[in-house]
Homo-oligomer: 388 residues x 2
Amino acid sequence: MRQVGILGVGMTPFGISEKTNLELFGEAALEALDESGLEPSRMQALFLGNCLGAFEEGQLHMAPFAAAEVGLPVGAPATRFEAACATATVAARHAALLVAAGVYDVVLVGGVERAARMGTDLATTTFAMALDAYHEGPSGLTFPGVFAMAAHMYAAKYALPLPELKKHMARVAIKNHHHGTMNPLAQFQKEIDEETVLTGPMIADPLQLFDCCPFSDGAAAAVIAEEGIVARWGGPPVWVAGMGQASRGPLYLQQDLTRVTAREASVDQAYAQAGLTPADVDVVELHDCFTIAEILAVEGLGFYPPGQGYAAATSGETTFGGRVVVNPSGGLKAKGHPIGATGLAQVYEIVKQLRGQAGPRQVEGAKVGLVDTLGGDLGTVCNLILRN
Amino acid sequence: MRQVGILGVGMTPFGISEKTNLELFGEAALEALDESGLEPSRMQALFLGNCLGAFEEGQLHMAPFAAAEVGLPVGAPATRFEAACATATVAARHAALLVAAGVYDVVLVGGVERAARMGTDLATTTFAMALDAYHEGPSGLTFPGVFAMAAHMYAAKYALPLPELKKHMARVAIKNHHHGTMNPLAQFQKEIDEETVLTGPMIADPLQLFDCCPFSDGAAAAVIAEEGIVARWGGPPVWVAGMGQASRGPLYLQQDLTRVTAREASVDQAYAQAGLTPADVDVVELHDCFTIAEILAVEGLGFYPPGQGYAAATSGETTFGGRVVVNPSGGLKAKGHPIGATGLAQVYEIVKQLRGQAGPRQVEGAKVGLVDTLGGDLGTVCNLILRN
């Protein structure tokens, strides 16, 4: 297998947008293409992530239209992936695998979603379609409910009083909002404090409003190429060192929601391929759809043993100057979560960090970065390890 | 790249079903697994095709649930693909590419759809979402309209009187219904005649009811493996000799609907990889969503020059004993068209043909078979060439 590198990345502002999916995708894709120095006609395939275009715009089969939007050639297959919130990472992984395999030399990867403009009702309804439609959806469960259960189970399993856990969860939100203030593309660029979180409206006990990421519109993209093209490019290369993807069935098979077994399987694949361990990782963009989700993730990714990651944000170990910087972009929590774009926005951030182009939120000397994206009720996890 | 073979295939009856998507998928997948002689625990990944589960059952993110339904291991990534009617073929191609590349040794591929039970209104509405949502959908265009335009353009371009073209189109329907009478899994197993077609209700001039394939429920699956596993299997191997996939943007960029340029690009890739030409192909399952679509396909796949394929069914050249047997299964027209399953049902038929297991519809001495699946308004085409 050949080495695979990332040439260009692009990302729209995340938030509420008047643009169509294709316009958002085009904006991010053309920025990535521009940075790569390659014409669209050079792209040999498009791997596109999108979840809800059929509901939001009445657009299925979005990939060929997206390819045409930015001028890809007819012979370049354009393929849509959908893996709930892990959609874009899954698309990027398949792209990188096929470049590594020699099927393609250089490809475009993009993710796009309009989840803000569709309104809260339709967003909540369609997001919940990533739950098992026969056993979970009909019970009234939605995603805040899934992670609320996980928080209760976490508190019970580790004998942590819930008010104490909630204070640590609040610190995750405060940290990621603080990070977001340094990201001009983030949906929220405003500090919050403990009072903001703990006095917010209750969403799904114990999750309050500021424990939850927002609905967002946005897109992100990357140009991925084999080592020869990367070497000739001349820009600062970022390499795909390891990849993983794993799946898990419905909640009744999972039982212990404090351990995301798909994540453990996925990240193990990625660490093994990269020949690295959690101790080697300088910066992580991980799936903080809810504050408790970041706590589960820092444990699942191996930075803390199970049950010992809850105080990571409180202790300052996951911000600048800490042992590993988690979500310098602001994460899903503050940067926003346009679900089909999220994984590539994580890639965008890690690439900028490894190039030393992250401005005021730069993680000093970052050499190894990890992308972690979770889809559904712990059903899909996809990880990418990047290095410079 | 390693040789890739197909061990087991499975398929449900196509038609109207009371079963859920997961039940249909499970039925086809377990048949394929059973035929492969391998336990589900041996599968290293699932590649799943589904288009409309979110509308029909409220199920997005179906792949991990499908994997769990048949007992795949947690570490096996389950990935959903959506490429309109070409969905399952695109899933199968990505599976075969990753097995060829050595990423996986043996994987499960499945496609499933419930497009009959959702009712004609919702089916028509959601199918039309594969058209460009901003330029085509709002004009009132649906898929019968796209292919009706193609028929008119074909008649005009080749100066063929429309009534004459319609008689040749009717022969496609008559042939495929005849083939369907020999397929116990087909939705329609009943002969029709010219009168049936030419006196049917008008759907989109010049397409009448029997020019159109039905809405269908159903599933199909295959187990795909690298050459070593195929060699040890002991069953009659069928090899993936060539693959192609290509894309084309909206209709305003296509203009000449009589030439499916994505098909020409895709099948060229497949022929080149296989080192074969159209003359080598014994049997084809191609995308006859409408009768005119089969005429476009026999030309686009290289069996006839452009403008010279319209009489293929009339002359008997595309049935048993002809130069190439087209849609021995009955095709989408008579076998049915559960859109996310169709490509793998085509694979199922070609595998049975190449093994000599097709019973009364066996193409004698079939050695090379071609799968052709078209998604959207000529937007995606995916081809597989199989040989024994």
